[in-house]
């Protein structure tokens, strides 16, 4: 099965390449980094910005719109090298793991500024809807463009989410959009957007979205005997997966001479049920969670002289979380958490020579966590970051090197029975480097070799350090080292059958050392502590291919393939070998093989999108034995949309069928995913 898929993927890629090779092209080379991708709304001012050394995987524009995705996490599944941890349903947590390094090593940037969660370090991308999103990009290592805040250098992998920028045609100064989505899980999901142009240089957008879903769906678990007959088979309804959420977002965009600025706010208020794990005799849970997230941020950027360019970013964020367990068969829990973050950054680029830039960025960040937990530590973290980076181009060779200096001061209290016994301050600092290279061997061909090395760490989160009776204040940072070697190739033509062809392949080796893991700390399963004892080595290959085809008049086809092979092995305990051991076992929830196929056909105003996701067999523990085995899963999704104009109003009708073949599966063990489900979308633009 695995082999068949892998072979099919390779076969089509090989065929595409062969076909292409037969047709000798004489079209002049197009030097755009990636014209295949929809870079519709890049604001270019002054001189062309220094291009990235290694381009990102990007989803945007109509392609993103065509995917059957509710959230950003659903869309990111189509990138290679990525695993989504999905607890199922509309309101379930969805976190992202890049190249098996763990969720905490991923930085998520929303309109240029990182989303923080000092409490547990995880960003639930299931909460970010695609309603207002223009483009999502994924970078391994870091965005290899040096003119960026120091914080952008501070993760092992980064996802950039870019919200819609207002665009106005002709004399129009107002754009309105009304969208209604409905479908399975009792979904009601209206959204409104208003875009307004104040002047030639200043515009704004206001966007509100409400989501309601009962979150109920059927799921099925079954097992069979070795002869294939059914041992047991049960179908039930997933309950307590309801969610209601309101999102309001506003932004002002301005252009100035040789520069630009923007300011925005984001507010999210939600209540959801936590459906929990399905285990023997327990088919329903009743935990609830409330979240309120607010942030306001601004960015200003200007070329101050021919050689000097400056960018300033600032942000304030406040997050509230309330968790309640009313179930009397379990521990009654009613905890509230408040987080604050203040962030300010300055990036300064100086052009020494036309092909040689240096950048110095300085950031400061403050985090605070407050909670109703007893004996809580009330931790604060001051982080100062300084990044020095340089980018150089020698003919067809591009190189970027950066050094990040991180200084962290954690302050917390020891409180016992209401008395503050001690105040602590823990200080640490680190240097971490990164090098990115790109080489074009032959000028005539869009063929590039690329390589990078990066060493970075993630700090233990406040939960790791201070969670009452579980945290361990002595934790050290967890390190990720990455080595990557790859190439990309692209062919673009104006006519012919294949209008575009792109192929990328990367091989990588990552190590995670001092990995922070929970260790049992005494009698019973309620007691754990966190320790820096894990070691993981990851060898992987990411392959992507894209072909755009012109099949007939007005009939275009766009096919994207991605495939990932990963051997992510647990090197924590060399003694733990033999049957049931974890040494060199594939780590939890990382499949050896995974991939996706997305096909999009357009004929005039009709758009049909088909997508397939495959996640191969994996284990829910690095003990790779049958009790932890999880079979492969794969889903087929289909959608179609039709756009038409009546008067000055543009209408779009779209219908989606997800999990077409009604396959029942788990991503996380005992968290069942929905079977076949539907969605209907109506959009009006005027």
């Amino acid at each position: 099965m695995l082999k068949r898929i892998a072979m099919s993927l390779l076969a089509i890629v090989a065929c595409c390449l062969c076909l292409e090779a037969q047709e000798v092209s004489s079209v002049p080379q197009i030097k755009e980094i990636d014209t295949l991708q929809y870079l519709e709304n890049v604001i270019v001012y002054g001189r062309k910005p220094y291009a990235e050394v290694i381009p990102a995987q990007t989803l945007g524009g109509k392609k993103l719109e065509g995917l059957n995705s509710h959230s950003i996490a659903d869309a990111i599944r189509y990138f290679s090298g990525v695993q989504v941890k999905d607890y199922g349903g509309v309101g379930g947590i969805k976190t992202i793991d890049i190249r098996s390094m763990g969720t905490n090593h991923l930085g998520v940037f929303y309109d240029g500024i990182q989303l923080g969660n000092a409490q547990n370090g995880q960003i639930d991308l299931g909460r970010f809807s695609l309603d207002n999103i223009e483009e999502i990009s994924l970078y391994n290592g870091q965005k290899s463009e040096i003119f960026q805040p120091a914080r952008d250098y501070g993760s092992a992998g980064t996802v950039y989410i870019k919200t819609r920028r207002p665009k106005f045609s002709g004399e129009k100064n107002n754009n309105f959009n009304v969208t209604m989505r409905t479908g399975s899980f009792g979904l009601a999901n209206p959204s409104l957007r208003w875009e307004h142009r104040f002047s030639r240089n200043v515009s704004m957008s206001l966007n509100a979205e409400y989501t309601y879903a009962t979150g109920q769906y059927h799921f099925r678990y079954r097992k069979k005997f070795s002869d294939g007959t059914i041992a047991w088979d049960t179908t039930a309804v997933r309950k307590n997966g309801d969610v209601q959420a309101l999102r309001v977002e506003g932004a002002v965009f301005g252009a100035i001479e040789d520069g630009k600025w923007n300011a925005k706010f984001y507010y999210y208020d939600s209540e959801r049920g936590i459906p929990g794990a399905i285990v023997n005799n327990v088919w329903m849970n009743s935990q609830r969670q409330w979240d309120r997230n607010f942030f306001a941020q601004g960015s200003w950027q200007k070329r101050l002289s021919e050689k000097f360019e400056m960018m300033v970013n600032a942000k304030y964020a406040r997050d509230f979380m309330h968790y309640h367990n009313p179930d009397t068969t379990l521990m009654l829990v009613d905890n509230k958490f408040w987080q604050d973050e203040i962030y300010i950054s300055s990036a300064n680029k100086y052009t020494i020579l036309p092909d040689w830039d240096v950048n110095l960025s300085v950031d400061y960040k403050w985090n605070y966590l407050n909670s109703t937990l007893t004996n809580f530590s009330y931790p604060q973290r001051h982080t100062a970051l300084v990044a020095l980076a340089t980018a150089r181009t020698w003919h067809r060779f591009k190189c970027q090197a950066s050094l990040l200096y991180t200084m962290i001061d954690d302050r917390y209290k020891t409180i016992y029975q209401g008395q503050t016994l001690a105040r602590h301050s823990k200080w640490m600092h680190k240097f971490t480097p990164a090098v990115f290279m790109n080489y074009q061997p032959i000028q005539r061909y869009d063929f590039y070799l690329r390589a990078f090395y990066k060493r970075i760490f993630r700090m233990p989160t406040f939960n790791d350090l201070f969670y009452t009776d579980m945290g361990n204040a002595n934790l050290r940072p967890e390190y990720a080292n990455q080595f990557d070697l790859g190439f990309w190739y692209q062919r673009l033509r104006e006519d012919g059958f294949f209008t575009g062809l792109k192929f990328t392949a990367d091989a990588y080796y990552n190590t995670i050392t001092d990995k922070i893991i929970a260790v049992p700390s005494g009698r019973g399963q309620y007691r754990w502590t966190m320790m820096n004892i894990g070691k993981v080595r990851i060898m992987g290959v990411d392959v992507t291919a894209r072909a755009t085809m012109h099949l007939a008049r007005d009939f275009n086809l766009d096919i994207n393939l991605s495939y990932t092979y990963q051997k992510a092995r647990d090197y924590t305990d060399p003694e733990d070998t033999g049957f049931g051991g974890t040494y060199k076992g594939q780590i939890a929830y990382i499949p050896w093989h995974s991939g996706s196929v997305v096909g999009r056909a357009t004929w005039r105003d009709l758009d049909v999108n088909y997508s397939f996701i495959y996640v191969g067999e994996r284990y829910s523990s690095s003990c790779n034995e049958r009790s932890y085995h999880q079979p492969p899963w794969y889903t087929h999704d289909l959608s179609a949309s039709y756009t038409f104009t009546l008067g000055s109003t543009k209408f779009k009708v779209a219908a989606e069928v997800n999990n077409l073949f009604n396959q029942y599966y788990d991503v996380i063990i005992n968290y069942p995913m929905p079977g076949r489900n539907y969605k209907l979308i109506l959009k009006f633009d005027f």
Binding site: V279, T329, N474, S521, Q525, P631, Y634
Partner: protein, 395 residues
């Protein structure tokens, strides 16, 4: 290549992907592993209940057969392959009474009842958040964290909400719950002596809240099935084993900060505490006049793991007779000592290692000389033992 060929090629690819089908998981049949030489005594074997990490639904039952010297994994699913979602989530206690084997499955809110020899399922008793089980004259007594919810305080800001626990009385012939007695908060292990049930109240859920831990043992009169009194012992109690002279051995977990885990001996006849032992007591096993105690704990004060405890206490002299019954250095290999049992005839000592709780643990066998005889991988968090045989105290 013609246009139609290209279409054909694409169609083939799409069909190949569509045609793929997902395979169902196969139920676990018994895995039999030879371990050592057979041994013939009145003890036929023992069951080992693997707890299974929480929310994984991974509780499993293994059996060691003395007459073959073989270890058998997953005997429950082998005997009951059609039970939906298998044995359940977190097996917390096991006991044999009459012809039946009882497994207390904590997070599945049930006591699973099977035939003690064939392991064929007889039925289940639904008891929410059930913890430990003991038997007496045709009835099973099961401690549970679930009792009435109590509100204390005058206004909503100052209110403390907590829940009392209970001991359920179950008829072992009909498997029906016949009565329930409310005790303290989060009651754990229980034992029965002289017509009275002693159950330790932990108060573990209130850790850190205003009311704090419980510190008592509840005494229930079996005749009236009413709580008679509460004996104050220490905070956060857990283990409770009675010896043949009526001394109740009670272990406390401490508060993981300043107060360490301790062991207490209470004389149920003289109704007074007779001795306190500065011994870290995690899990205990009573064998004749010997109490075996193991533990290994994280300390917040030292921010590290203390050395493991592997002690034997003489219950007659009330003295620690052996501070480490493992003599060959194997204790250094044991990561998380979890379960303990002693063969009533051969006196071989069995210790389980939970390791990191997310993989298969080990079962170690030691002779009375403290030297390891063998070890084998059991299931996920091997923990609770029940010996099977005629004319032995199977609990």
């Amino acid at each position: 290549m013609k246009f139609s060929h290209k279409i054909l090629l694409l169609s083939i690819l799409v069909l190949a992907l569509l045609g793929s089908c997902r395979e169902d998981e196969v139920i676990y049949i018994k895995e039999t592993v030879p371990v050592t030489q057979p041994e013939y005594t009145s003890v036929d074997g023992f069951y080992l209940l693997n707890e299974g990490a929480m929310s994984r639904d991974l509780a499993s039952l293994d059996y060691y057969n003395y007459s073959t010297g073989e270890y058998e994994r997953d005997v429950y699913t082998d005997a009951n392959p059609t039970v939906v979602m298998e044995l359940g989530d977190v097996g917390n206690d096991i006991g044999i009474y009459g012809s039946k084997l009882y497994m207390v499955i904590n997070c599945s809110n049930k006591v699973e009842v099977v035939d003690k020899r064939s392991v064929k399922r007889i039925g289940q008793i639904d008891i929410p958040n059930c913890r430990y089980i003991k038997f007496h004259q045709g009835y099973a007594y099961v401690s549970s964290y679930v009792g009435p919810v109590v509100l204390e305080g005058d206004n909503s800001d100052d209110e403390d909400v907590y829940q009392l626990g209970a001991v359920f009385k179950v008829d072992t012939t009909t498997l029906e719950i016949v009565d329930k007695c409310v005790v303290g908060r989060q009651p754990d292990e229980l034992d029965i002596v002289d017509g009275k049930i002693y159950v330790t109240n932990s108060g573990g859920y209130s850790q850190g809240s205003k009311i704090g831990y419980e510190n008592t043992v509840s005494v229930i009169d079996i005749e009236t099935f009413k709580e008679e009194e509460r004996i104050p012992v220490a905070i956060n109690l857990l283990g409770c084993k009675c010896d043949r002279r009526g001394i109740l051995w009670v272990s406390s977990r401490g508060d993981y900060h300043g107060t360490p885990s301790m062991l207490y001996a209470y004389d149920t006849q003289k109704r007074r505490m007779v001795k306190t032992f500065d011994v870290r007591a995690g899990n205990m096993w009573m064998d004749g006049d010997s109490l075996y105690v193991i533990s290994k704990e994280w300390s917040y004060m030292s921010q590290g793991f203390a050395n493991g405890t592997y002690a034997i206490i003489n219950t007659k002299t009330l003295e620690v007779v052996n501070e480490n019954f493992i003599t060959d250095g194997t204790d250094a290999r044991i990561v998380q000592p979890y379960g303990i049992a002693v063969n009533p005839i051969t006196k071989d000592i069995y210790v389980t290692d939970g390791l990191n709780f997310v993989q298969f643990g080990f079962l170690y066998c030691f002779g009375q000389d403290g030297k390891m005889k063998w070890r084998i991988r059991a299931g996920n968090i091997p923990a609770h033992f029940a010996f099977l045989g005629d004319n032995i105290n199977e609990q």
